[in-house]
């Protein structure tokens, strides 16, 4: 088990802004500015899970993309292990990007159907130049077993797997380059509930074993309750409330958080909404 200092801040985001312009109308063009991120600040500690919760359009996926530097920020600063990500050169970014990996929502869309599982896993190792062929082979075999699949599965293609197994492959692909932070964007929302439980427990086990930090994006407040240590609630590009999981579920302060908790199907909460 990896030793971790729980108080070390791994990723810190300060005052992130990102806007999109939406053009509508056929003859008369109308422009609307959408604030996808509006002064978003957060920090993730080592070995911890921070959940981002919000409804569609709240900016949670934009946030993930900005943290991965797949989208450029309008304004704001990002620190990963104390280094400012927004001012790094290409090489420096590549080095740090290895340590931030992503697991996607749809396991059917996020694996290349023409690549064998071995090729999918090896790609990251090649890009980041991690070891020679023998080392890479060993890493792949270890990783595929770690996510609960067989070594013989390395020679198969994605279509030969079920949704849950594909998500395991997606996790293996993210973890094989030994990242420290994994961004999980709705990793179980496309899965059946019995498979969902398997994947959630796998993610938790791997976190313990490898000392990973997760940024866990989800709309499902029941799943988040099981996964996260702390939580940030997003609404229309802003973080309306953040804090420890216990605090937010037991004593939500923001009106919107209460609405969300009340809306969980199955009559769990009845908070007052003004």
């Amino acid at each position: 088990m990896a030793k971790i200092n729980k108080n070390e801040v791994l990723l810190e985001a300060k005052g992130l802004y990102k806007t999109y312009t939406q053009t509508s109308g056929f003859f008369v063009k109308k422009q609307r500015i959408i604030k996808a991120l509006n002064n978003v600040s957060l920090s993730i500690k080592k070995g911890e899970t921070l959940a981002i919760v919000g409804e569609s359009g709240s900016g949670k996926s934009t946030l993930a993309r900005c943290l991965l530097q797949l989208l450029s920020l309008d304004q704001g600063e990002l620190f990963f292990k104390g280094k400012n990500l927004t001012t790094l050169d290409v090489e420096g970014k590549k080095y740090l990007k290895r340590h931030i990996q992503m697991v996607f929502q749809d396991p059917y869309a996020s694996l290349n159907p023409r690549m064998k599982i071995a090729e999918i896993l090896e790609e990251g190792l090649l890009i980041h130049d991690l070891g020679n062929r023998i080392v890479r082979d060993k890493k792949m075999r270890d990783m595929i077993k770690k996510v609960g699949l067989e070594v013989s599965d390395l020679n198969k293609y994605p279509h030969q797997f079920s949704g849950g197994q594909r998500q395991r492959i997606g996790i293996a692909r993210a973890l094989i380059v030994e990242p420290e932070l994994v961004i999980c964007d709705e990793p179980v929302s496309a899965l059946d509930v019995s498979i969902q439980a398997q994947i959630l427990l796998l993610l938790k086990e791997l976190q313990k074993e490898l000392g990973l930090s997760y940024l866990f994006i989800s709309h499902d407040l029941r799943v988040v309750r099981h996964m996260a240590d702390s939580i940030a609630v997003m609404h229309q590009g802003e973080i309306v409330e953040q804090g420890s999981i216990k605090g937010i579920y037991e004593k939500p302060k923001a009106n919107y958080t209460r609405e969300l908790l009340n809306a969980i199907p199955g009559n769990h909460f009845k908070f007052k909404v003004s």
């Binding site: 509930v193 969902q196 029941r222 969980i264 199907p265 009559n267």
Partner: protein, 272 residues
């Protein structure tokens, strides 16, 4: 209580592979004013069951067994004879409202179309009827001339609901109607559906994979697994005192919002 619908020994299998049975010996009843939830994972046959009640299965599939609507066996009817039952006796709402709506017609016109198939009304009273339906599902009447893409997901699903209740059906079949919606919108739609069911004293067959939704809306629950009904009973009994091993295992997989329960995944899938 008087049954409104009786499903007896329903079986569905592909015509080309009659040995592959997708829905096997499914029997249940629906009662006016009660909501019955069919819950199960993907591939359990819950949607096929719903479609076979309306006799809307693909031509590649064959259904056998009897379905009685108010005592009349509708499973032997031809497609032509089935038509008056669809919409007027029973109506259906689907998961993704955008794929059920026609993108080039205004939503008002689409509801009018649904109405004029079954009832003979002049233009004026048709308009009035649509306005009252809009009001009933909580949409402003000036939305009548909107196109589906101008509405949000929740509003679209309200339009679908308005369309389905337009001809005052006695049975409403809802196939995962809130799966594509945000949780706050889901809560609103669930409330709307159960209010309408109460007000109109309809029988509702609600298909879902979400036990939270079951707890919220169901009176009776049917649990399906690989085409079979493994358990049925009142919502209290099934959720609190499940009898079948599969129901027990499945409930262990559902995370609760209070974080008390420990997740336990299903390991070996040998329940039947």
């Amino acid at each position: 209580m008087k049954k409104i619908l009786e499903v007896k020994h329903l079986k569905v299998s592909p015509i080309r592979e009659p040995r592959k049975i997708l829905v096997d010996d499914v029997s249940f009843d629906l009662y006016p004013g009660r909501t019955t939830c069919i819950v199960g994972e993907s591939g359990s046959g819950k949607s096929l069951t719903a479609l076979s009640i309306m006799k809307l299965l693909s031509s590649q599939l064959r259904q056998t067994g009897d379905i009685y609507f108010e005592g009349q066996n509708i499973s032997i009817l031809s497609n032509e004879d089935m038509r008056p039952f669809r919409g007027q006796s029973m109506a259906m709402i689907f998961q993704e409202p955008m794929t059920s709506l026609n993108p080039v017609l205004t939503v008002g016109d689409q509801i009018k179309e649904a109405l004029s198939v079954h009832v003979d009304l002049d233009k004026n009273s048709l308009n009035k009827k649509v306005i009252s339906l809009f009001k009933e599902v909580g949409i402003a009447a000036d939305r009548m001339s909107s196109y589906p893409d101008e509405l949000s997901g929740g509003q679209r699903q309200r339009i679908m609901i308005a369309m389905s209740i337009a001809c005052e059906p006695l049975i409403l079949i809802a196939d995962e109607p809130t799966t594509a919606l945000d949780v706050t919108v889901q809560a609103q739609i669930l409330k709307l559906l159960s209010d309408l069911k109460e007000k109109r004293h309809m029988a509702m067959l609600f298909i879902t994979h979400d036990f939270g939704v079951v707890e919220e809306i169901a009176d009776d629950v049917i649990v399906m697994y690989q085409g079979h009904i493994v358990e049925k009973g009142s919502v209290k009994d099934v959720l609190k005192k499940p009898k079948h091993a599969y129901t027990k295992a499945l409930l262990q997989c559902v995370p609760d919002a209070k974080g008390i329960k420990k997740l336990k995944p299903i390991q070996h899938r040998t329940f039947i």
